[in-house]
């Protein structure tokens, strides 16, 4: 259970840093603005179409909910391992009787908690919307399932980047490249007509479009689970490899 102690310390230190509050504030301002725009739009266009609602638009029918994620995930994951490397504590951590798996698992759990702290305040938008109209709580639930799935996927790759890089800023850049790369690959859906199906399977944007309409496609969840497992597996290997060169 040593990974829990590692996760606990990581979370504790994260919330001691001013960075956490800066990130959270800017994130909520950004997402609040995105939500406000959709609410405003629907308020002014009563006849606007079909099954879409301000909440489903917010959760991912547009690129507006993804761009902030691509920026904020690197900021939240960069210090996970690279920070210990910069402060030198990686040496006392790796010479304690813990395994590389304990370290990566503990850091990953902490990263998921960071992700939840980004999203829990957005429940407020659900509450606000519910005061002015009817809400399908099923679609809200499926949207949050999607958000959690994408969170595990993104945080795992951010953790991998933080394990590879020696410095936090480099970790942030690598994470941005990873996530940006995946996101761009997803856009291939609109470019390569012949492989549309394949690319939409990779596209978190398409996934969220479904989740936000109440469709929980288990293929998407399998995609997140396998991408997460791959990144965590690689992160453990990278940590083990340090012993040859550190």
């Amino acid at each position: 259970m040593k990974f829990l102690a590692i996760a606990k310390r990581e979370i504790y230190s994260f919330f001691l840093s001013p960075m956490a509050y800066a990130v959270l504030t800017v994130w909520l301002l950004t997402m609040g603005f995105v939500y406000f725009m959709f609410a405003q739009y629907f308020a002014n266009n009563l006849s606007f179409g079909g099954s879409d609602t301000p909440l489903s638009m917010f959760f991912g029918q547009t690129i507006l909910s993804f761009v902030p994620q691509l920026v904020f995930v690197p900021l939240m994951t960069m210090r996970l391992v690279a920070g210990e490397n910069q402060s030198g504590t990686i040496e006392s951590l790796m010479t304690a009787p813990v395994t590389s798996t304990d370290i990566i698992l503990g850091k990953f759990i902490a990263a998921l908690v960071f992700w939840l702290t980004l999203w829990i305040p957005t429940l407020m938008y659900v509450w606000i919307t519910s005061r002015y109209g009817d809400i399908d709580y099923g679609t809200v639930l499926s949207s949050y399932i999607g958000v959690l799935g994408i969170g595990t996927f993104y945080m795992a790759w951010g953790l991998l980047a933080s394990t590879i890089a020696r410095r936090q800023i480099v970790a942030a850049v690598i994470t941005f490249l990873f996530l940006g790369g995946f996101f761009l690959a997803g856009l291939g859906e609109y470019v390569f007509e012949d492989y549309r199906e394949l690319f939409s399977y990779l596209s978190v944007w398409s996934h969220m479009a479904d989740f936000s309409k109440g469709v929980v496609d288990s293929r998407y969840l399998a995609f997140y689970a396998s991408m997460t497992a791959l990144a965590l597996f690689l992160a453990v290997r990278v940590l083990d490899t340090r012993k040859e060169i550190a």
């Binding site: 040593k2 504590t89 006392s92 012993k243």
Partner: protein, 319 residues
């Protein structure tokens, strides 16, 4: 407690440690002495499993470090160079975390922290944020970290670097207090540190072991190596020199170069000279040779200049 055989570490083309062998018995306090860049930290990192050796074998407490690293780490309290700590945390929080990942049972953590704080003599800062502590306190927090799980073996990398003379004295007293109770391996580049705290010393230079023994025996001047070059019978030369100390000879035709390790005394050269000549050998050269051990000593810090170092470091950090 520690057995090291033919240990080597190579970084690319740089050989940091080569064919090192030494052992530390249970309950011993051993100094690992060498100038900066000799491979001390690299060796300690291999002992603690932070680095894998390129070649060689390390056994600690009967476990092979590469085969069973976690069994070994449970036996070790390691203080890395520079005393890395989670600076945003309070001293007791840091120690509680370290105790937890070192496997101290939850119920015993509070008492383990109290004991470590007491031994490192830093009870007065238990609730302070580490970043606000002076270098000397941080060093002792790192020492408390090494002690918190009450391990039988302490591996301390430069335990007194950056401390002022009073703190150095305290740390040395603390280390000496472990005698008989814990096994201690500490690295240092300061000669008086070894003499003050260690029962035995292993000296390394450029990644190689160049000597070991009791600190006093290693003192420059207790022994000397005399180089003798003479022409004549090899057997006669060896026979003559053997009464003056341990002899090694290399020969080219009938010219022989001998090195005699003898107790140092002013008369030794004269005695060797007259002995060689009276045996009928032609003496060509006779002088006290510089040994590799002496080269090392020349590079060691032989005076306590750390107090100035502390001031300089703290000024640097404040800026």
């Amino acid at each position: 407690m520690i057995e090291v055989e033919d240990l080597s570490k190579r970084y690319g083309s740089h050989q940091a440690v080569r064919d090192l062998h030494f052992s530390v018995a249970k309950g011993e306090i051993v100094g690992f002495l060498g100038p900066n860049g000799a491979g001390k930290s690299t060796t300690l990192r291999m002992l603690t499993g932070y680095l894998n050796p390129t070649a060689g074998r390390i056994r600690i407490g009967g476990h092979d470090v590469s085969e069973d690293p976690n069994a070994v780490r449970k036996l070790i309290g390691y203080m890395p160079e520079g005393a890395p700590l989670y600076r945003e945390m309070r001293v007791r929080e840091h120690l509680a975390y370290r105790a937890a990942i070192k496997g101290v049972p939850r119920k015993s953590i509070a008492s383990a922290i109290d004991r470590a704080l007491e031994r490192a003599n830093i009870e007065d800062v238990r609730d302070r944020i580490i970043a606000q502590l002076s270098k000397g306190y941080r060093q002792r927090v790192a020492l408390a970290d090494a002690l918190v799980a009450d391990p039988p073996l302490l591996i301390l990398d430069e335990p007194s670097s950056g401390l002022d003379p009073n703190q150095i004295r305290e740390v040395r007293q603390l280390i000496k207090s472990f005698a008989g109770e814990k096994t201690v391996l500490l690295s240092t580049h300061i000669l008086p540190e070894v003499e003050a705290t260690c029962e035995r010393v292993v000296i390394i230079n450029s990644g190689r072991k160049v000597g070991s023994g009791r600190p006093k025996e290693l003192r420059r001047g207790d022994q000397q190596v005399v180089k003798v070059v003479a022409r004549g019978s090899r057997e006669d030369l060896i026979d003559t020199l053997e009464s003056h100390g341990e002899v090694t000879v290399s020969s080219k035709d009938d010219v022989h170069t001998a090195k005699v390790t003898s107790p140092s005394s002013e008369d030794a050269l004269e005695a060797i000279a007259s002995a060689v000549i009276s045996r009928g050998l032609k003496l060509r050269e006779l002088r006290v040779a510089v040994t590799s051990l002496e080269e090392v000593f020349a590079k060691l810090t032989t005076i306590e200049e750390v107090a100035d170092e502390t001031d300089a470091q703290e000024k640097g950090e404040e800026e």
